[in-house]
Amino acid sequence: MNQIIEFLARLGSDASLTTQNILDSTLKASRIQESVKSLISNRKVSELKKELQLELDSVCVIFIPAEDENEDESAPEKEEPETIEQKAS
């Protein structure tokens, strides 16, 4: 598992691996199991997640303030120009 994640992270940081034949030759030289090599080479991300038994439906909701949070933050009528404290130079 560690080798696979390391390889994927390397994919994200090594520009040469964006070339398919270099990716394949690097994969071939790695000690990653053959079935996973094939998934990486063919860019089968969903299948790769299943193979690694990763949670498929991670919540990736943007963490925004919601309506029921509190009265102060959701009352635009009361909104004043934002003030900032700034030290005099």
Partner: protein
């Protein structure tokens, strides 16, 4: 030992977007809380630090996201109070459309702990790169979709419009499951007040794995209710009309330029409002106003 909190952004793509400083904070932390969009990223962070704890468990069906956010803040703060160096690692940028990192940092500071935020590459950054949009060219408005629906906002159709979380359009439960076609029809109805129904929109998803490409799907505004829209999909509406020149301001600026050329300019009076009649006080702090940007 004094506890501390550092919230870092891990960027959108595994292995590609983490800054050296953020990585160093993750590696040196006593423990790392994660709020990431992908199981691969979580596994990767576990290789950088031995004590990585996911905040995913704070979410729940039928549970308000606000409750989840408060729990996340509490989890992080509890460890800071124990004197630990805590890192909150969040996908994208930890301060953009992100409540828990801002709240946790403010709370930590209020309680006398060191706390800071380190930026990351956000979905917005990826969007500009993948769609070839320069927000400086004609401007760009950003809204969270449900907020746009719940409040009266002024849309500038000569600028790009980016709507975040259209998958949760009109969600009043603050939940974590996508809403349906009925809510999206209302969204289309709202947007149709400013845009033609045939206006081309873009559904965008930033790639989170080096093996992936961005999702860039173009469709007419009227087709949105039936489109495949997930939690991480972003909706982009390109400008519907050209910029309209402000002829009055242009003339005034030209006149100003002529004055400058003729050395008639009063350089002490460069602000577009009346100068103060009394000299400003020279104090240690000064309150200024700043216009909010969208």
């Amino acid at each position: 030992v004094q506890g501390s909190l550092t919230c870092v952004g891990v960027g959108m793509m595994l292995g590609a977007h983490l800054s050296p400083l953020a990585r160093s904070h993750i590696e040196q932390a006593d423990l790392v809380f994660t709020g990431v969009s992908d199981g691969f990223v979580e596994l990767w962070l576990k290789q950088l630090n031995q004590d990585v704890r996911s905040l995913q468990s704070c979410y729940g069906d039928g549970k308000s996201r606000n409750v989840s956010y408060r729990e996340m803040v509490e989890l992080m703060l509890a460890e800071v109070r124990l004197g630990k160096r805590v890192v909150g690692a969040f996908y994208g940028h930890p301060g953009i459309f992100a409540k828990p990192p801002h709240d946790a940092i403010a709370r930590a500071k209020a309680e006398g702990f060191e706390a800071q935020m380190l930026p990351g590459i956000s979905a917005e950054d990826c969007l500009y790169a993948d769609l070839g949009i320069d927000p400086g060219k004609v401007g760009c408005q950003h809204f969270e979709t449900t907020q746009l629906m719940l409040y009266h906002r002024q849309l500038d159709t000569s600028a790009h419009l980016v709507l975040w979380q259209p998958g949760l359009a009109g969600d009043l439960t603050m939940g974590i499951r996508p809403t349906g076609r009925a809510e999206r029809r209302l969204l289309v109805e709202l947007l149709a007040k400013d845009y033609p129904l045939e206006h081309e929109c873009i559904l965008y998803e930033a790639p989170t794995m080096p093996l992936q490409s961005a999702r860039i799907e173009r469709l007419a505004l009227k087709a949105l209710p039936l489109a495949q829209i997930d939690l991480h999909t972003t909706l982009v509406l390109p400008p519907a009309r050209a910029l309209k020149p402000n002829t009055e301001m242009r003339e005034r600026l030209k006149a100003l330029a002529r004055k400058t050329i003729n050395n008639q300019d009063n350089t002490d009076n460069v602000l577009p409002f009346a100068p103060q009649t009394t000299a400003p006080k020279t104090t240690a702090t000064q309150t200024t106003t700043r216009r909010k940007t969208t």
